[in-house]
Structures are given as C-alpha cells and as structure tokens.
C-alpha cells in the first residue's frame, strides 16, 4: 500500500532533542508526545503537519539521545514516513521497533521541496514526487530490518522467537 502525504523539510543532523524536547519525556503516550513534535526546531511546524504527512530530512536524522519517545512523537503526530539522506543508528533501530517507516534517499532529500505531495511505496522504496513529476529510489531496507518490519517490530519478533506467537 503506497503512502501519500505532503513533505515537511527539515535540515541536517536533526537531534532527538529537537524531535521531542527533554521536558516532555514524562509520558510514553505517543499522542501526548506528538503534540510537541519539533517544538524547539520550529514552534509552528507541528500545526502544519497533517496525518499521513512525510518528514524529509538531511543527513544523520535522529542523532543524540536514545529516547524512543522520538519515533513515538513522530507516530503520535501522524507522520507516516521519514525520508532522509542518512540516519543516526539508535534512532534507526527505534523507528523500526515502533513501526515508523524510514527511507534512506539522498536524492529525495535534496530534490523534494517543502509542501510537495509525495507517494512512497514501502515495498519497493520508490518515492514519487507528484508535485514535480519526479521519482527517486530509496536504498533497499536491509533484509533483517524487513523481517523485523514484517513481524511488526522487535516485540512481536521476540514473541515469535520465544514461541509465544505463531509465525
């Protein structure tokens, strides 16, 4: 099922403090966290994000703290996918563990403009820019991450391994 949404561009090295500030880490509720998404980056950005929208970032998205509240805030705000030139490693794992789709695509990171309408195919990694009539190919998702995604994240994956869930 392709995902469709408007692009919200953010820069390079967006850290997890900018995704969700430390002062809000007193809850694990995605909806509550989502209210404060990107608050210190651009206080008006959250209001512009509609359910299904896509965040398009530069290099090293999600650097810094290991707070899993960061992908939860993105999920809670209704962000359907992140497209970035590259990701910080802990954030990368955390996003997959919470069912947030991440695509690595330096070309899209450069070419997409704020507000562009994008269509993303999670299966093939193809990103279509409906506003500009362009298409970009994301790097393939590593096989193990695909397996995790198919299982529904690390928790169902572990349940299956422990024989607590049918495979």
């Amino acid at each position: 099922m392709p995902i469709r949404g408007r692009a919200h561009k953010v820069g390079d090295h967006i850290d997890t403090d900018l995704i969700i500030a430390g002062r809000y880490l007193v809850t694990t509720d995605p909806a509550k966290l989502g209210e404060h998404l990107f608050e210190d980056l651009d206080p008006g950005l959250r209001q512009r994000i509609r359910p299904g929208d896509i965040v398009v970032a530069g290099e090293n998205f999600g650097q810094g703290s290991s707070r899993e509240h960061a992908p939860l805030a993105l999920v809670g705000a209704g962000v359907s996918a992140v497209v970035a030139a590259s990701y910080a490693r802990i954030f990368y794992r955390n996003a997959f563990n919470n069912g947030l789709l991440l695509l690595e695509c330096p070309e899209a990171s450069q070419a997409v403009q704020n507000g562009d309408e994008l269509e993303v195919d999670p299966e093939t990694g193809q990103i279509r820019n409906l506003t500009r009539g362009e298409a970009y190919q994301a790097k393939p998702i590593p096989p193990f991450m695909q397996e995790l995604t198919r299982a529904g994240g690390i928790i169902p994956y572990v349940r299956r391994k422990l024989g607590l869930e049918a495979s």
């Binding site: 090295h13 403090d17 900018l18 090293n60 490693r89 802990i90």
Partner: protein
C-alpha cells in the same frame, strides 16, 4: 586478517570464531540497564512480550537519575512505574533517591561492567563503559525490553576508527578536550555506525575519570561504541570493584581499521564546543570574553571526582562572579562523599556555588538549572543542541571542568590560566 577488540567481543558473545564489519550477529548480553525516562517504556514493551520474568535478575539494573528526585508529578509517576516493576520482579540492582547516581558513572563504580563483556543500556551514553575494555552501547527501550526478556540482542558489527594520541598533555587539557577535538575534526556523524577505538601513550597520562569522558562522548560523533584496550590502569581500577570474574580482550596485531587518526596533543589548548553542535569546536581563547549566565559542572561526562578536583583548583579562594550561577552536581553519592572528605564541597560552597544531590538534571533541561531565553551556559555535559538545557533561545558551550569553573569566576569564557595566574607564579 585479525579482529579489533570490538569485533572480538562481539564474536565471542555470538559464539562465532570470527566476525567482520557489516555482519549481523545475535549476541549474549552480560548486563543491561534503563533509567527513569527509558524504563517505563521498556517495562511496557517487556510486558507486551508476555514472559513472566527477566532473563537473569542479577544482570538487570535500574537507576533513577534523570528527573529524580522527582521534579514534578509526571516524573514521580514515571519513577513509580519502575519502582513497582522492580518490586514485582524482586530485582536486586535498583538505585533510587539517596543511593542513585548518574547511571553510567554509578554502574562502573559499582563493578557491574567489566572488561571483555557486552553491556547495553537504554541511554545513549552507555558507550561510556568502553573505557573499561567492554563493548557498551546505547539502545532504545524496545531493544532493551527484548534483551531483558531473552538475554540476547542483534547487532551489526561496526567498522572501527582508531584514534591514537601521542605527545605530552599540556596543563588544563583533559580527556574531554581530546574527545571534543576529535568530534570537531570528524563531525557529529564522522563515526556514524562505527566503533571508535582510542589508543596511544597519552592514555597513560589520563586518569580513569578522564578516559571515561572520552568513551562517553563517542555517541556525539555518531558512534555505536567507544572503546579502549584494558591496560594495567584499567585492571587495577576494575579488580576491587568487579562483581564477576572477567577475561580482558585485546585486538589482534593485524586487526583491520577503517581509518587511523593520529594526534599530537603537545600543543593543544583547552577547547569548547560552541552552540548548537558538539562539533563546533574552537580553542577557548577564540571565544574568550563571551558573557556567561550559568556554569554547570556535573553529568556522566564530567561529574567525577577528578572533574571536581579540577574545578576546585580553579575555585579555591575565589568567588563565583556576581552575575553567574554555578551549579555543581557530583555524579554519584560516593563521589559526593569523597568530595566532602577532600574539602572540595567546602570550596564550592565558599565560592558561592550550588551543590546538588546526584542527578542528570540540567543536562537535559530537566531541573536544577534550566536556562531562560537568551541565557548562556558553560557546561561540562556532552550536548549543546538547541533547547537541550532549557529555552530554545539559550546557548550552551561544552567544556572541561576547569574551563567551566574559570568562566564562573570571570563571568565570561576565559582560559583557566587567566583566573589561576597567581598560582602559576608561585
């Protein structure tokens, strides 16, 4: 081709004769922990897995350090989730108010991390423990929950970047300055997905405390782990503390490094990371004169006894500038007590500093010194991101403890020699 220390530890924990960078391996986890912010989510995920007990209660620790003593009702509720889980499962290694310290400093001090082992924590600065010759890395709460249930976790074997320090360390130049210098050179993603291995004769000139500041900040260059081979200094430090017998691991002479960086430290100066990135590294003299509102000495990076001694050397017989607040937070109760016995707390109080019970507190804009719009702070912590210590308009300079103390006295950023000049003449 041989293996690096990081590759050898991962191979041993995956029961494989050999691993290579890029391999995906499932490893045994020797010890794991979470804090008051990451534990509630880890507990929630653990309960979703549906197992009755943690894989080994003796290998699980919980430390309430970030927003504890609870800063507000919401934090108190989060702390309670962890407390109740610990009671329900009868977990022996739980550190609450009074006994808690900043987890990375505390768990090393308490002997939970030993050379050659594999340690994961739901906290990005878990890479701290690499100074002991362990593989230590930060993970999210879900990964921690998986490890808590099964005692295992998957890893991609990182390539290794090696940093070699030679020369003679100048006065006021510390382990913190060395790691900031590296981050300034390679950038906040210069070691993304990599192991950073630190080596060279200069390590002998550093205290264990300074070595921890180096591995602690590996994550600020994007690394998976920071590590040092355990020399005699490490073994002497670990032996009286270790809770388990251990076998040190060393890299092979023909180990393969993705890159080797050589540093001569002889002409180095104390440096700071200017806002808003740990990679904006400049000698403190280049930003000398920047007016300061608050100085903060503490955290998992620089809240150890050696840091407090360096700060006291600058502050002894001097007063904190009337326009500056100085907050000093010893990282653990043991360090607090030692600082008290050495007379350091007396020095801080007489200088006009506030001394707090151990907590991460201001480092993440939590409590005990949150910054207002436009305020400038010199902090011994590891991150100066926008909004990290309070208002998004506040500015944070990262430094070693002597530089932070000197700024507190001068009311502006200065080289510590500017403040301690008289002592040099004696």
């Amino acid at each position: 081709m041989g293996m690096t220390i990081t590759e050898k530890i991962l191979a041993a924990h995956a029961d494989l004769p050999k691993v290579e960078p890029g391999d995906l391996v499932e490893c045994r986890v020797d010890m794991l922990f979470a804090n008051d912010i990451t534990a509630p989510l880890a507990i929630q995920q653990f309960e979703r897995i549906g197992v009755d007990r943690v894989f080994d209660p003796d290998r699980v620790a919980f430390v309430l350090d970030h927003y504890s003593p609870a800063k507000d009702i919401a934090s108190a509720e989060q702390c309670r989730i962890t407390r109740e889980f610990v009671r329900k499962h009868g977990l022996p290694h739980f550190y609450d108010v009074g006994r808690a310290g900043i987890a990375h400093v505390l768990l090393a001090e308490e002997g939970f991390v030993v050379p050659g082992e594999l340690f994961v924590g739901a906290d990005s600065h878990t890479c701290n423990h690499g100074a002991l010759g362990a593989f230590a890395t930060g993970v999210g709460s879900s990964d921690l929950a998986a490890a808590m249930a099964t005692g295992r976790l998957w890893f991609r074997v990182p390539h290794t970047l090696r940093f070699v320090f030679r020369g003679s360390l100048p006065r006021w130049v510390t382990g913190k300055d060395l790691v900031l210098r590296i981050i300034g050179d390679i950038g906040v993603d210069g070691a993304r997905y990599a192991a950073m291995e630190f080596a060279g004769p200069v390590l002998q000139q550093l205290s264990m405390d300074e070595r921890f500041s180096i591995t602690n900040m590996a994550v600020e260059a994007g690394a998976k782990n920071g590590i040092m081979e355990p020399d005699e200094m490490v073994l002497e430090w670990v032996r009286p503390r270790a809770r388990r017998p251990f076998q040190p691991v060393y890299g092979d002479p023909d180990a393969r490094y993705a890159a080797v960086y050589e540093y001569d430290v002889t002409d180095m100066q104390p440096v700071v990371s200017a806002p808003p990135s740990p990679a904006n590294v400049v000698p403190v003299t280049e930003v000398a004169g920047v007016r300061v509102d608050q100085c903060f000495i503490g955290t998992c990076t620089n809240g150890r006894i050696e840091d407090l001694r360096q700060a006291a050397r600058v502050l002894a017989g001097r007063k904190v500038h009337p326009d500056v607040r100085l907050v000093v937070i010893p990282a653990t109760p043991r360090i607090y007590r030692q600082a008290l016995e050495e007379g350091l707390i007396q020095v801080f109080l007489e200088a006009g500093a506030a001394v707090s019970t151990p907590t991460c507190g201001p480092c993440i804009g939590g409590h005990m010194g949150v910054l207002a719009d436009g305020e400038v702070c010199v902090s011994t912590s590891s991150r100066n991101f926008i909004g990290r210590m309070g208002h998004r308009g506040a500015k944070v300079y990262l430094s070693n403890a002597a530089v932070a103390a000197a700024a507190a006295v001068a009311g502006k950023l200065v080289h510590p020699d500017e403040v301690v000049r008289e002592a040099v003449r004696v």
